[in-house]
């Protein structure tokens, strides 16, 4: 507020006179928006319109119970946490199964002691709940941050104090300052502008970056100072109930015994931002969850990764197997009970209970089925879910902590907002990206221009730089003898023989924001010496005058900044300033420009009277000012899209059309945004007759006012004379050139961009309207097929809903993982619809981030997120799940085999405690360390070889071949473990002392073998051993021995008492069996991986070897070549343009002359 005093004076301008189209259509509610606003007055008070707001009157307002401005997005609170979280846990089939078994374990049916069933379940569920709790806590913290933002609130007696957002109540008067977010939905009362307008950026609501104008009612304009709210008491707002519609509002404002109708123009929505306006006063209408933006937020659908869904399928398969072997077992039991039990006198069959009653074998069989289901439950890895959750939390922690994804500027790290989808990041096939603000900075850089058919500006666009670079690095791959064409100079500057220089890297050091133009012919007044200097002068004047911006003088430095509606305009003004045409002052009717080189006596200030301003909108695609210069000449300056301008050129205005068109094409190919500039000289009489008509149209009331205005505008915007064209670069975000990498990730996959502006003719470009047709049922598959054929698809001017629809179409159509990335609230639909939603944080608001699964602070981090973390997480989780199934099959089936030798009685050969510990302690940590720490290749290599990422989308590590392979391995291991031990411990003595192995000895030996086999297996699976893996793998094996020692000292252990020290330890056969079985279990896998590596190596194998042999250091050319190859062959977006550029350059080289080729790559 420091400069508000000075700023305010400057801001006092009635803009309403200048504006034509956007606003100020009288406040009759003629908004043109769909919605009930036109018949507002009638509806207020009726059903759905019950809200009453007593402005600035907390006493009266308290009688109405509206929620406070407190928001909460958490899933649980302290009371609901336990019941709700437990319910969530048991919605999982596997957990429900384990719950049932735990309950049944309290009955005699259970083959184990109850504690061995309940303890692991409690552990597993407890851990999952802990994780849920922590995640919810994080959400809570995030909410608190928002709730604790501060805003100035009227306390009474004209005094404003800062309060937290959450304390805001309906009816409060707040003062929001420039660049602050509105804390709630407000009614605009007044602003720093005299006529009560303010500029609002609704980026968070609809993603639009251009500023929207809001305007208060006339009647509240006097409330322009803090003190004036002393007596502002009796105003009442009656309006609609909370609803999610952003563009409608219906209500009445009762003030001083008058009723005024309210429409959306007076409403400032929560999460939009005040721009270009020092401050506003407003009354809170909707608070917290009542606000439109909160009403709009839908619960983000819980997403599950492809791998997890497949895992569920496998679990169902295992359930089927479980049912099957349980059935076999219970049939076997029933048969034996019927036929054999009566003869087994030692079981006293005559004293049977119903569990094993030979006279009722069917009943006993059914009871036994339950027993068997519990007994073989070890086939279903109980700890799988919780281990995966734990691993994912840790993986997410690594993502959050990654220092390479920390943005110094915003201070944000990457955030895995849900850890469910880590591995899905490694399988992304299609990326859908919002363009503005996501791919590009939405910050324009004046780079080139074409004036009077001459192209100025030697700076290179990012596309050209990348093309040059790529050509240089891939030089040896090209078939042209490049030595005589390229001169390589430290990779920084690449000179083309023809004399065009591409400066690469840090050579470009534009000191001025928004201005990267380099060409001495125009600078320092040199333009005066150019042949067409008069046209150039006009060109500069158009730049300096044809706009709606406001200059802001920095009082400290005297430099001028511009508040422009669009960044392009800002860039033009900066450019004009640099050329010597400094726009420094705007008054109600005039624009003042300081011109440096137009008169011999140095700097002159010139005033141009603005007569009319026909501003830009997306339909007109042009903007016009009509002004009178100091000589009294009336000029019309028009800038707009080239096609629009070219259509309106006069016959004598087409002098430069051909050249300009060529330049425009060049600029377009270089990825620049272009506008054509033109002018027209008007006769006084011609103007005044037109102005009369225009005035009539402007003041007309009725639905066709807009049409009228357009028609009249069209009349004057004719017979133009082309001056030239501008080319600005919408800077890619730092590292967004990595788009090429993204596609590389993909190497042939799709990249669908949902853009706002079509800026280059590569790819299929489709705009919102066409899209509406394309998305209809009968068309959409054709559209999809077309889109798949194209390397990239650009959809421009699409609504958030359409974005979501396209996303769904792509997701369902291709059936592959889609990732949507965006930064604004308009991307929320897309982010939620895609398999993975990524939000860009730190730029604007939190909407996209809140809806997203991952948030990063810059687009360029997406590469690391996918290529490094995604790749790792995918492999980790895939291997982990496979291994889990392997180990539980290997273990679970031995229990089944033993049944066949124990009369299917449900007796386990293992001690209960062994079984309890198997999943929870003895085999859990190594697999978790696999899931958390495994790296096939280092992060640098992941980034250098994005092609490695292809392993994910191709799903090489979790396809059925691999899953079944692991299951087969488990089956084999179970057979080996059981039958080898059975034969070894058949009936003979196991010691020199003649002792025989009893069941405990056999069981313990078998269990030892299992522990060794599965832990050796995971050691073979891992390719990356830090001390943690070593500790966990070897520690697990040691833990087993320590456990059996400790367990052997307690008498609870039954027959396992002192088993290691007294029975097995001194028996060589025990150790011999362990060694044999472990080897036998792992040799097939060893054969498999050895064979695969030698005959059919995967990419990461080869790269591992290259690294291992340090070939990358020895043979750097090869290494570099492979790296560049790994990221080549991309035909998408940015890269497509780069390729086209390369082709073009090559083409030129061949033809030795300028040529114009438009390469469409699709």
């Amino acid at each position: 507020m420091g400069r508000s005093g000075g700023g305010r004076r400057r801001d006092r301008m009635r803009w309403s006179k200048l504006y034509t189209f956007n606003c100020f259509r009288g406040h009759h509610g003629d908004a043109g928006d769909e919605g009930p606003s036109s018949d507002a007055a009638g509806a207020v008070g009726g059903p759905g319109f019950s809200r009453v707001v007593h402005c600035n009157n907390p006493v009266l307002q308290k009688t109405l119970k509206y929620p406070t401005n407190y928001i909460t997005t958490t899933k649980y609170n302290i009371i609901t946490f336990f019941p709700k979280a437990i319910f969530e846990q048991f919605r999982r089939v596997a957990n429900l199964y384990f719950l049932l078994t735990a309950i049944l374990s309290l009955t005699p049916v259970c083959p184990f002691s109850p504690v061995s069933m309940i303890a692991p379940l409690a552990f597993v569920v407890g851990l999952s709940m802990l994780k849920e709790g922590l995640e919810d806590w994080r959400r809570f913290i995030q909410d608190m941050k928002v709730n604790n933002r501060k805003v100035a609130v009227h306390k009474g007696d004209g005094e404003f104090v800062y309060r937290h957002w959450e304390e805001l109540c309906v009816g409060d008067v707040v003062k929001v300052e420039k660049d602050q977010f509105f804390p709630a939905d407000l009614l605009l009362l007044s602003s720093s502008y005299e006529d009560g307008i303010c500029y609002v950026e609704t980026m968070n609501l609809d993603g639009e970056t251009n500023l929207k104008v809001k305007r208060s009612l006339e009647v509240t304009l006097p409330l322009e100072e803090d003190e004036s709210f002393k007596d502002f008491q009796e105003a009442v707002i009656r309006c609609e109930d909370p609803n999610p519609s952003l563009y409608t509002f219906t209500g009445n404002f009762e003030y001083e015994r008058q009723v005024y109708a309210l429409d959306p123009f007076q409403i400032l929505l929560r999460d939009s931002k005040l721009r270009n306006t020092s401050f506003i006063y407003g009354v809170v209408i909707f608070t917290g969850h009542d606000s439109k933006v909160m009403q709009n937020s839908t619960e983000s659908p819980s997403k599950r990764s492809r791998i997890e869904r497949k895992m569920d399928l496998i679990i169902y398969i295992l359930f089927t197997v479980l049912m099957l072997i349980s059935l076999i077992s219970s049939i076997g039991f029933a048969v034996r009970i019927k036929l054999d039990l009566p003869h087994w006198w030692y079981l006293q069959p005559q004293n049977s209970n119903k569990l094993d009653d030979p006279s009722r074998p069917a009943l006993s069989g059914i009871f036994h089925l339950i027993t068997a289901l519990i007994l073989y439950g070890y086939l279903i890895p109980i700890s799988l879910y919780v281990s995966i959750e734990l691993v994912k939390v840790l993986q997410a922690h690594f993502i959050n902590q990654d220092i390479h994804m920390f943005d110094e500027e915003t201070g944000n790290t990457a955030q895995a907002r849900t850890s469910n989808l880590n591995e899905e990041l490694g399988q992304v096939h299609t990326v859908l990206s919002d363009k503005t603000g996501t791919l590009t900075c939405n910050q324009m850089d004046f780079l080139k221009c074409s004036i009077a058919g001459v192209s100025y500006g030697v700076g290179s666009s990012e596309v050209e730089i990348a093309a040059a670079k790529q050509m240089a690095s891939g030089a040896d791959d090209h078939d042209i003898p490049l030595q005589d064409i390229w001169e390589e100079n430290n990779e920084d500057e690449i000179e083309l023989v023809e004399g065009v220089t591409f400066s690469v890297g840090n050579n470009r050091k534009p000191s001025i924001k928004g201005f990267s133009f380099v060409d001495d012919r125009l600078m320092q007044g040199n333009w005066n010496k150019e042949p067409n200097s008069s046209t150039i002068l006009l060109f500069f004047r158009i730049l300096a005058l044809c706009h709606t911006a406001i200059p802001e003088i920095n009082e400290a430095t005297g430099s001028i900044a511009y508040e422009a509606e669009s960044p392009d305009e800002g860039a033009f003004l900066v450019a004009a300033r640099e050329f010597g045409f400094e726009f420094f002052k705007r008054t109600q009717s005039s624009v003042f420009v300081r011109e440096k080189h137009t008169s011999p006596n140095g700097t002159t200030e010139r005033e141009f009277k603005i007569l009319n301003l026909l501003e830009f909108n997306s339909k007109r695609k042009r903007m016009t000012v009509i002004l009178k210069d100091e000589d009294g000449q009336i000029l019309l300056f028009c800038k707009g899209a080239d096609s629009i301008i070219f259509d309106r050129l006069a016959k004598n205005g087409r002098m430069y059309e051909v050249d300009t068109t060529r330049h425009l094409n060049d600029y377009g190919e270089a990825g620049l945004r272009t506008l054509a500039l033109s002018y027209r000289v008007l006769e006084e009489s011609e103007y005044s007759s037109w102005n009369a008509e225009f005035h009539k149209a402007k003041t007309s009331i009725g639905p066709d006012r807009e049409l009228q205005l357009e028609r009249v505008s069209d009349l004057i915007e004719r017979e133009l004379i082309l001056v030239g064209a501008t080319a600005v670069e919408d800077k890619l975000q730092k590292g967004a050139a990595k788009e090429s990498l993204l596609s590389q990730i993909a190497n042939g996959s799709q990249m669908v961009k949902l853009e706002k502006d079509p800026d280059a003719a590569f790819a299929l470009v489709i705009d919102g309207k066409a899209l509406a047709f394309a998305l209809e049922d009968d068309m959409k598959h054709m559209f999809l097929n077309l889109a798949i054929e194209c390397a990239s698809v650009i959809c421009c001017r699409v609504s958030p809903k359409q974005k979501a629809l396209v996303t769904r179409l792509v997701k369902e159509g291709i059936g592959q993982t889609t990732l949507a990335i965006g930064d604004g609230a308009n991307d929320v639909g897309m982010i939620q619809e895609a398999d993975i939603g990524v939000g860009i944080s730190g730029v604007e608001g939190m909407q996209a981030v809140m809806a997203s699964d991952f948030s990063i602070s810059q687009f360029r981090f997406l590469e690391r997120l996918l290529v490094v973390h995604g790749h790792w997480c995918y492999k980790r989780i895939a291997q982990m799940i496979c291994y889990f199934f392997y180990k539980n099959i290997a273990f679970g089936l031995t229990i089944f085999y033993f049944e066949a030798f124990a009369g299917f009685s449900g007796q386990s050969v293992y001690d209960d405690w062994f079984m309890l510990l198997f999943n929870v302690v003895l085999t859990s940590l190594p697999v978790i360390s696999l899931g958390v720490f495994e790296q096939d290749v280092s992060s640098e290599i992941c980034l250098q070889f994005p092609a490695l990422y292809q392993q994910g989308p191709k799903n090489l590590f979790f396809d059925w071949y691999r899953i079944l392979g692991w299951m087969g391995n488990g089956l084999y291991s179970s057979l080996a473990i059981f039958f080898l031990n059975l034969c070894i411990f058949y009936d003979q003595a196991i010691r020199a002392g003649g002792q025989i192995a009893d069941m405990a000895a056999v069981g313990t030996t078998m269990f030892t073998c299992i522990i060794w086999a599965v832990n050796m297996q995971i050691a073979l699976t891992m390719s990356h051993f830090t001390w943690i893996q070593h500790l966990f793998v070897w520690g697990s094996i040691s833990t087993w021995y320590l456990f059996i020692l400790a367990y052997g000292t307690t008498l609870r252990s039954g027959d396992n008492y002192q088993i290691l020290l007294e029975v097995l330890g001194p028996a060589p056969i025990y150790w011999a069996a362990t060694l044999l079985v472990t080897a036998a279990c792992n040799i097939p896998y060893l054969i498999h991986i050895s064979y695969q590596r030698s005959c059919n190596p995967l990419d990461h194998h080869v790269i591992q070897e290259i690294k291992y042999l340090k070939k990358d250091v020895e043979d750097q050319t090869m290494w570099k070549r492979e790296r560049s190859k790994a990221r080549q062959k991309t035909k998408i977006g940015f890269t497509a343009r780069v390729d086209a550029k390369i082709k073009q350059i090559k083409g030129r080289l061949h033809k030795k002359g300028p040529s114009l080729t438009i390469h469409t790559v699709s």
Binding site: P111, D340, W344, L347, Q348, N351, S352, N400, Q401, D402, I403, E408, E409, G411, N412, T413, I465, V504, G505, N506, R508, K509, K513, L732, K738, A902, G903, S905, V909, E940, Y961, C983, Y986, D987, Q988, A989, A992, G994, M999, H1024, T1026, Y1057, A1067, A1080, I1083, L1086, I1087, S1090, R1093, S1094, C1095, P1097, L1098, V1102, I1103, I1106, K1107, E1122, R1123, A1126
Partner: protein
Amino acid sequence: MDSHAAGSSSGGSGDGGAPPRRNSRKPKYSKFTQQELPACKPILTPKWVVLVFLIVGVIFVPIGIVSLRASQQVVEIVDRYDDACVPAANENDKLAYIKNQTIPKTCNRTLTVTKDMKQPIFVYYQLDNFYQNHRRYVKSRNDGQLRDKSKASDTSNCDPEATVDGKPIIPCGLIAWSLFNDTYNLILNNKNLTVDKKDISWKSDREHKFGSHVFPSNFQKGRLQGGKILNSSIPLSEHEDLIVWMRTAALPTFRKLYGRIYVDLKVNDTITVQLENNYNTYSFGGKKKLVLSTTTWLGGKNDFLGLAYLTVGGLCFFLAFAFTLLYLIKPRKLGDNNYLSWNRPPVGRR
């Protein structure tokens, strides 16, 4: 080597001049959080593959040979007597024979020593088709009662052999109740061979699990008579047959140690066994065998372990050979960049 080069061109122009703030949120660098912990990354090079298989082979084959030799040094005499001991008159109804208390159960068997046997020689009985591992059977015991005098009346889990006339059975449960009760008396050259029945059980069992102050009571007093009757004046810890028996076997075919003979036997010695054929295996068709066996360091006679080791070892030698061949016939240079997927013709890889 800078993979970010393509994106670095935006230079300073994009900087809004915002000073770096909130850097306190910058993650602290640690090798752990950045996943840069030093790690060993073993790679299965051909050299290693062959070496591993060779090493396994080199270790396993000798173990196999030693184990097989050990097993073959064991001399084992097995004599099945369940059928043979049934008098011809009862041939058709063996069950009636065994249940009839009045028929004398004594039976004489003659064993011929096939090879010299060095003492100690272990005497086992072997039962067949006897499900000591049946859940109903395994559960039917109470360890506390066996150990602790004060828990004498604790017969939980012992059903259906827990109490008789309301009084607790010690030792309770089916296992104890069905205690094997055949007895053997070995005679060599008309001289009784002393069968040492001491210390045939595990020491810890005797000392910790079967109480020296716990005496059998109400045992085999029920309506049904199971197996052996225990002398109720001897504490459980000294009923070693019971202790051995109560170590339930893993498989339906099992041996249990009966005792030891500390006499060397010569080849062609004949041993006469006077046995009391009391135990009923006839109802379920189980076999009964008497086994005399020596042991080695590895235990009794079982060629399997040795053979398995030889098989695995042999297989590993074969694999080492096969992989060597593979590498010779179809060599792949390590780290050969031609094997990278983008350098390979796009044939249908998995």
